[in-house]
């Protein structure tokens, strides 16, 4: 069992060992918040359907830090030869294992620390921790309390890097249960663009817990394409927070795919902080076993004329649980907001659970918002039609579920990443 005392000891040790003035105060601030809020439980607002206290029923030792490129190989996304690969090991950015092809005039990749001590210092002090505006719980503060070897990615003005960026998060639980708290800050300057894919994998069989935070700032006319692929072991737990600030009129397109895992909680928060922002959020979760996946999205419309569209779809089989909570806030200044949200679910087992909840908080009068959620079953007529042609029930089900997933997968614009995910999805469904 780990509690505040356990984290306090670790925190104090970190503050002592790493007295970098750029981070000590920030960490202290976050630790104090964590100290007050504690770990979320079912009484905590926004955590009603997702329990993470069990995750802390054991000690996680800080994992070792020595992986080889061969350890990374099984997890590379096909086509990686033409991609920038950034590797985190146990939550720490590992520059040696990373492989950045793009020239630094196109893409800057630094450790947070190096960046904070160089010319990007002001940018970092301005935007690091901006996610705290929308998320106030203890588990989020915990990540902030341990910011050390994170990554900083900067796409300079008017640059469109030739190669996409793949970020692999590896947790090494071969020797003992491992916890990691990766942190990144990504900045897209005016007119730039980035195609980003993140994956999460645990090496080893002991439990793992990844408490990841990514903050992204998108300037005027910049374009972010962001794919998050979660397909880890059944005892790999994750709280994954993405905070995107669209500070100029810009375009953001995200797809989050959750397949295997233990308890997976995703927070995807956006601040639409400039007139005319456009945002598309897609999600696909295909859950079986005891996987619990919770997608919380939050769009904070602060300026007029912003457009956002969300489509999250999923399947819950066996004893799995899916949670979707889509919150849309429209601030008084955000007139002419267009915000649409749809959550569709298929329940495949009597023991599976789906909780879906739209949450609209509208403080402007001239807006168009809509939401809809459905929970249905597989189409029996279609299933019978396929079987009546000789296709076995299990395979017929796979065909129908693949078809169901297809429209979200089609939103993965990168052909390499889409092919990779389609294969994972097919394999995942084939043993459903």
């Amino acid at each position: 069992m780990i509690d505040l005392t356990y984290f306090k000891a670790q925190f104090e040790q970190l503050q002592m060992e790493d007295p970098d003035a750029n981070f000590t105060a920030l960490r202290q601030e976050n630790f104090d918040k964590f100290n007050i809020a504690g770990l979320p439980n079912y009484r905590t607002e926004e955590w009603k359907y997702t329990g993470i206290s069990n995750i802390f029923n054991q000690i996680y030792l800080p994992g070792g830090h020595t992986l080889t490129t061969a350890d990374v190989d099984p997890f590379r996304i096909p086509g990686h030869h033409k991609a920038n690969e950034l590797v985190f090991v146990n939550g720490r950015f590992d520059a040696k294992l990373s492989n950045i092809l793009s020239d630094e005039t196109e893409m800057v990749v630094l450790s947070l620390k190096d960046a904070a001590n160089g010319k990007y210092g002001p940018l970092i002090s301005k935007h690091l921790n901006s996610s705290n505006v929308l998320i106030k719980d203890g588990i989020h503060a915990l990540n902030g309390a341990f910011i050390t070897e994170g990554a900083f990615i900067y796409i300079p003005k008017s640059k469109v890097p030739e190669h996409p960026l793949y970020i692999y998060h590896l947790l090494d639980s071969r020797a003992q249960p491992t916890m990691a708290q990766p942190r990144s800050l990504i900045y897209l300057a005016e007119n730039s663009s980035l195609q980003l894919t993140e994956t999460y994998h645990t090496l080893g069989t002991a439990d793992s817990f990844c408490n990841a935070v990514v903050e992204v700032v998108v300037e005027q006319n910049a374009f972010l394409e962001y794919y998050k692929i979660q397909n880890d072991r059944a005892n790999a737990n994750q709280v994954n927070t993405t905070h995107i600030s669209q500070i100029g009129k810009s375009y953001v397109h995200t797809v989050a795919v959750t397949l295997n895992g233990g308890t997976v909680r995703n927070n995807l928060n956006l601040i639409l902080d400039a007139e005319g922002n456009e945002t598309h959020l897609y999600g696909l979760y295909l859950l079986k076993g005891k996987t619990h996946a919770d997608n919380h999205t939050l769009i904070d419309n602060r300026q007029p004329n912003c457009y956002s569209n969300q489509l999250y779809k999923g399947i819950a089989d066996d004893f799995s649980t899916a949670v979707f909570n889509g919150r849309i806030m429209v601030q008084p200044d955000a007139q002419k907001t267009n915000s649409f949200q749809s959550n569709r679910n298929i329940l495949l087992s009597d023991n599976a659970t789906i909780n879906t909840k739209p949450q609209l908080e509208i403080f402007a009068d001239d807006v168009k918002c809509s939401h809809g959620c459905t929970v249905g079953q597989l189409d029996e007529e279609a299933l019978f039609y396929l079987r009546a042609r000789g296709i076995p029930k299990e395979q017929a089900q796979v065909l129908l579920l693949q078809a169901y997933a297809a429209d979200v997968l089609a939103e993965i614009k990168s052909l390499a990443v889409r092919a990779y995910v389609e294969k994972l999805v097919y394999e995942h469904l084939s043993i459903l």
Binding site: D379, E381, A382, F384, Y385, L386, R387, A388, R389, G390, I391, P392, K393, Q395, A396, L399, L400, Q402, A403, Y404, A406, D407
Partner: protein, 257 residues
């Protein structure tokens, strides 16, 4: 040889008895037609034979090429060579027709210990059958039946039948809603399948299909039972007189009991 032998088949749907003792023998090489008023149970019979689970068989047995049909899963029935062309083919968005048919063909081959067809071999057969049923490639590259017209759906059923070459094909009103050309094509598909080791059962309301395919036997299904059987002259008589002359007789016999 007996292809399909139905004995005293009773079936319920949602607790209501729809099939009330069907008896029917179909031998290899034969073509049978079932006619009968709306709601008499024709599609129910077809669905029970294909293995639809909402229909509860309460009595009777069905032997299909020496095997107990009712004990098999729908997919095994299909792979044993039973084919049902649906009265209302379902639309399945997102599943490509070509991929689906290829999967169906290869599943059947696997069941019979044959190697799966590779793309080249499959495409060759597909081209040939497409020509036979005059179906357009563009239709087959779309999702199954999605947005197909009524006639296109029926043609797709016949195309699948041609691809799967079943031993026993049951066609449930495949001729309904077809224009003259399509009707001719459907008839051609059926006649092409006709052979001494296959059998066909067509469910229809119209003489015009029977003109093309010349069935060996015609049966009238009424109120869950086959109340009259005959040769193709029976169909002509029905066309002329309507069902009343049979159903009145059946109803009055029932009333006199």
């Amino acid at each position: 040889m007996d292809m399909l032998s139905i004995k005293n088949l009773h079936a319920n749907v949602e607790g209501k008895e729809i099939l009330k003792g069907i008896n029917l023998e179909i031998k290899a090489g034969e073509v049978h037609a079932i006619m009968g008023p709306n709601g008499s149970g024709k599609s129910t019979l077809a669905s029970v034979l294909a293995g639809r689970e909402e229909y509860e068989v309460t009595a009777g047995e069905v032997i299909f090429t020496d095997k107990e049909l009712l004990e098999m899963s729908p997919e095994d029935r299909a792979r044993e060579g039973l084919f049902l062309a649906f009265q209302y083919p379902v639309e399945i968005p997102g599943v490509s027709t070509t991929n689906f048919i290829r999967a169906a063909v290869n599943e059947k081959r696997k069941y019979h210990d044959l190697e799966p067809l590779d793309s080249v071999a499959f495409l060759k057969i597909m081209k040939e059958k497409m020509k036979l049923v005059e179906i357009d490639q563009s239709l087959l590259s779309r999702s199954i039946n999605e947005g197909f017209s009524g006639g296109e759906k029926k043609r797709n059923e016949i195309f699948q039948m041609a691809m799967l070459e079943p031993k026993m094909a049951i066609l449930d009103e495949t001729d309904s809603g077809l224009d003259i050309d399509a009707l001719r094509i459907v008839a051609k598909g059926i006649n092409k399948l006709r052979s001494p080791d296959r059998a066909v059962l067509v469910i229809t309301h119209y003489q015009r299909l029977l003109d093309y395919i010349q069935p060996d036997y015609v049966h009238v299904l009424y109120n869950g039972q086959i109340v009259k059987s005959g040769t193709r002259e029976l169909a002509l008589e029905l066309e002329e007189k309507g069902y009343d002359f049979i159903t009145d007789e059946v109803d009055s016999t029932a009333n006199n009991l």
